[in-house]
Symmetry: D2
Subunit: 302 residues, 4 copies
């Protein structure tokens, strides 16, 4: 299949490369030319323009950093419904937006596509840069069942699991719920490990105990925030790489806004947002989100 791919950064780059590896013809576009070079080396073709990237494609995949970028790409900018690439996409093509954005924007853009006779789904991912490279991402989709079924073989070139959360926007909502819960147990894990260490326990031993007990969770088990407990996770690399605090703050912001619209009470999620906001402001915005462990350290007097 011929696939137009928008956004080839930390996540989108390896995803596009995996599509190439699976035998697809990938035409990539990105506002940053340096990023395009990398995927060209992987075998993609660099589009000369956004419109060029969608010419004659069977599938469009986008992986963009914000709702504004998604709206801008497809519709041509805030409050506009022209000037974007949407109207240039063949009506038989399937449009898959993998960006993590608010559910309202996802629904709005998909609805405009549908009015035009085009089919679009939201398919944000879980699994991070590691999952993108390894092709083991989880896709959390929202949209009509048949559209998601059509997307499945494409998504399975980039990931291990494809879920349908519900109608358009539901993929975003489920992703946001997941990341809110991730933030909560990451912080909880960090404070439990610090409290254990403060009392003389070995964080590696305490981790083993809690993994075998009811405290078990993904942050403890797959992404331990205490340096040295696990290899090849950001905590053992000075919290470099991984999923930046500023990105977690973006997702927690989406979670808070989702909660506001339904008056859902999310006390743990709200506290997680506060702590990550403070942690980002304390100089950790670019570090991996497991660096929240450092928030709990005992430091020297000012």
């Amino acid at each position: 299949m011929k696939i137009g791919f928008f956004g080839v950064g930390h996540m989108g780059g390896p995803m596009a490369a995996n599509l190439v590896k699976a035998g697809h013809e990938v035409v990539a576009f990105d506002l940053m030319p340096a990023l395009l070079e990398t995927v060209v080396q992987e075998g993609a073709r660099a589009a000369s323009s956004a419109v060029d990237a969608v010419a004659g494609v069977d599938v469009v995949v986008s992986m963009l950093p914000s709702a504004g970028a998604v709206r801008g790409l497809y519709l041509g900018g805030q409050d506009k419904v022209d000037g974007g690439v949407l109207s240039h996409i063949d009506k038989s093509a399937l449009i898959i937006d993998c960006s993590t954005i608010d559910a309202d924007t996802a629904r709005d853009v998909a609805a405009i596509a549908q009015e035009q006779g085009r089919v679009m789904i939201d398919a944000p991912v879980s699994g991070g840069v590691g999952g993108a490279k390894a092709g083991t991402l989880t896709f959390i989709c929202g949209g009509p069942e048949d559209a998601i079924d059509r997307a499945r073989p494409v998504l399975e070139c980039m990931g291990a699991q494809v879920f349908r959360a519900g109608d358009n926007g539901a993929g975003q909502l489920a992703k946001i719920c997941n990341n809110m819960l991730l933030a909560i147990h990451m912080i909880g894990t960090a404070e439990a490990l610090q409290m254990g260490a403060d009392h003389g326990l070995d964080p590696a031993v305490l981790s083993d105990i809690m993994k075998a007990s009811s405290g078990d969770n993904w942050s403890l088990d797959k992404y331990n925030p205490w340096p040295g407990v696990m290899e090849n996770v950001p905590s053992s690399k000075d919290y470099e790489g991984g999923f930046a605090v500023k990105l977690m703050n973006k997702d927690l912001g989406l979670a808070l806004q989702a909660g506001l619209s339904t008056q859902s009470a999310t006390p743990m999620g709200n506290l997680a947002k506060s702590l990550y906001a403070a942690h980002g402001n304390h100089g950790y915005a670019e570090k991996d989100f497991s660096s929240i462990q450092r928030f709990f350290r005992h430091k020297e007097s000012k």
Copy 2:
């Protein structure tokens, strides 16, 4: 081996029964005669007194509801170091306290035992009533390595895993860290499921998605708080059975006190304590702790 067993309630009863099943001679004692009857039916002998229960035993196991009860049993009451059963236990016997209590009391009683030439370890459990019945508990031990090695074959009659967290008291500390983390991800899971449901997602589908993603945790996976998502968990039985809110409040109280003694910051743990305290006060003290899901429901106007 001959084993004296103190405290045969919801947890201790099945644990004592499993020791009988493994071929040990169990002499049980409890302040509530009705509880003794049950274990006698399982093959244990009812002791006529606490002192009778330790006569000639190789191992003493206790499973009591509070630090005061542990101190009272072994030492004879607050501020006293006599009148308890400790001095009646054979010096060659091994003393295993499985109660969940504060680490300071665990250390104090073990230190007094040691001064008398007796060996005592703390071995609180994770796994709940279900684990106690199935013999799949996790024992989280604190004490000398050789003592824990001696305890291992006895503990393995009642559980699947035996960990050494460190010296005396460390078992309690690790257990408390674990349960604090459990409370955190249980509440986080409940609020994520409610937020999803408020937006029209199916909690069962959302659970599947998060289990396959970075939000995964024990509460979601093994003890889902949304009614009907899993069978045979308290949420599907009107939150009856399981681990009562009042017991979670006790453990969270221990966690807060542990944090106070080291000035550890535990924001998520402190919030969890607040929410479980409120939830207990709202009439849920006797319900399973996964009933925190109801805290997030939208109810009718007052």
Copy 3:
């Protein structure tokens, strides 16, 4: 002066009446005719339409429940900049919006007014229905200094104090900061009183002590949430009247969104939002916000 007044509900009604009492000619408009009748009895004239209400006026005052309502009144609806009353207002008139809305909308509408050669300020209030009736409101204004100086004599007919927080939108921001802080000390006061009562202290005595000490705050002093401690406050009237939980939730939502846009960490504000969201969902949405006291009560078992 001739004044067009939009929105004559719980707050706007008494405010319009105070303008009449001060000798101004008030032409009122509201989508709910029943509300208009009340102010007509106070001496205002009912406009036949929104456009009629601004015909020939020197000043326009609006007191509306949401950003959408403000945008709709002045601009004619979401994404539109016509069809609203703005273009019908005389360019020499001063436009004062007293609604509590987000700062972005306040800035947007004022900017559009300015492009048209019109002058608009935001002037949300503090003081509640009581302050509106007594004419003792505090106006927290954003806009050009000279515009606020022009507004001052009008505002002083309805309130006791007029502050300029900064440029357009700053009035909204300051109001939101204030109400976030109000929610925080209201909840803090309620939990302190409950903890004292749980330990046998008399909440009235404890209130007197804290009022004379460093715990003093407006909620304790002017709006005590414990029934019977003060007369003529909602807590002594079964939490009827006053400032509804749902309105506090609206303002806390604005506060959270304001924090998101600047990555400000507001842990206390976020927790306050969570607790008020839960409290509203527990059936208290229509009750006065001091009813949060009931959240802390010890209730009977479920």
Copy 4:
């Protein structure tokens, strides 16, 4: 009157000096001789021993840093009820403990005094070092009414107001409730000011607005945490002097423990404890508690 005074540090020193100024004969004792020198210069006599300090006195006043110190002074140490000065105090003397400690210890020591025929009250203070020097402290007393009436003329030499919260221990409880509420509105004030500043508002102007509105509270009004808004408060002196973060952490620890004993839910208090624990661990333990403002600052990247 002849007064024995124990503990002449930051608080006790100026308090003892005010007793001297009021014409009383003060015999002071402190474990740190350097502190004694200062009060001797103010006109007190240095006792040669703790027992010497109570010889023939009409009143005993103690101002000590912890429950352990109070127990040690009066009873002679943990688990002991002799060796302390209590039994050396004349039975006609009145014993006033101004330390801030847990209510249980206050009740215990007073009960032992009563068994011996002695009269003791708890009288912790609010007002800080400034209030101690100026003689404007608030005394929050627990004990029999007639004992507090006897204490009143002595306390009024050191403070402006004397409250009776209830029986023995109630003074401590009320003090702890007050300081918990203080911590809550201090943090709330700091985050509101930071959020305003992040949006371009002047913290001094925002402070004026909130002081005139429903956000008003002691932290904002008397102890503004933003540097430069008020003169002569710690925020304008690099957060030196005042009430140290570590002392606020001690008081919040007492509040948490008080809440645990009655299962009172104190979400705001628990969060305040977490934030002050983190802030202390971030190097601010010795700084004034209004330095929590710095927790909210935006700092450079790590």
